[in-house]
Symmetry: C2
Amino acid sequence: MSATTKQRIVEAGAALFRRQGYSGTGMKQIAAEAPAPFGSIYHFFPGGKDELGAEVIRISGRAYGQLVPMVFDAEPDVAIATRNFFIGAANALRASEFEDACPIATVALEVASTNELLRLATAEVFESWIKALAERFKRNGLPARRARELAVAMIAILEGAFVLSRAMRDARHVEVAGEVMAAAVRAALKERPVGSRKVR
Amino acid sequence: MSATTKQRIVEAGAALFRRQGYSGTGMKQIAAEAPAPFGSIYHFFPGGKDELGAEVIRISGRAYGQLVPMVFDAEPDVAIATRNFFIGAANALRASEFEDACPIATVALEVASTNELLRLATAEVFESWIKALAERFKRNGLPARRARELAVAMIAILEGAFVLSRAMRDARHVEVAGEVMAAAVRAALKERPVGSRKVR
DNA sequence: GTCTATAGAAGGATAGAC
DNA sequence: GTCTATCCTTCTATAGAC
């Protein structure tokens, strides 16, 4: 069964917003890319571009967040899993000619000071990613506060490495960020005696 | 002596691009904000919006890069200086209601896949920041390669923390990033025996 | 160099036939 | 639910008087 018109609109919006940003993408362009009749966008999203934008942010954010369990379930050592996450991100960047980085970062920066509805949508996505990561770190024996700090740092360095890599066209920056982050995770785990670590 | 018309145009463009992004800012808005007659923009920047954008990126990048010597000259311990850099950035965010973060990151993401002229301008700015930071780390005894990796990581985690802080309206994320980065710098310095460190 | 007016294209959004 | 036509605004850019 093929995708519905609404799904195609959301997917086209996601691809264009990620690549060109929110302001840089027109509704007509989304309709052409979907493809879908122009009027159908307003049929499914009566709130217009903002409503579509919020939906795209939520859907893209949920999809990307699923990479966390995918990568961390596959590797018992969290420091290695952390490094693997960045290696995967770097490879995705290369395979997409530096387009496939964070699905919402460009929009997040564009709307942070200009569109409260969309800013809140991006904030909720970031919070969900931080929570998911912090949960992983907690399972490995880190206290809640420390786990959250590491999670914030990991999302931050990943996002920033995406900025550098896309601008400078060098995916190794993401891998370098991964090495530094993995070392930080390893160091945090060593802060506590081995006996106090929970086994997963 | 007051600012020239051209300077006012560049400054207005810098403020608006940082806040609203490149696509989200109109030439007329820049003229109104400067303030300057609309035609004057094209008098000083015959290449239009792209030429103005490239100039804004270069000027803003140079100005922000000057914070590196400012912060690192004031504190001999590089790990502490690193932390101080992030504390200063967090305070600037708070003082500006989360507008005054990286002057070029929003534009960098917007143009990375759509405007090669501006992408190159942002890449040159990032490269200059990385070089300046790596130089500081080298002065403290780190080998060139390691120094550059740390510099990339530091710019990355700062940029990403800006994204999170602006979206989530919480400047502490920048401070958390600073603590993690300062620890990474401290750990890197300890990798080598004390005797092999160069004194500045 | 300053400023106004306007061209020509593209933007978001709506109406209404089918 | 699909699709076209169109409204009105805004955009970048240019022309030309002063």
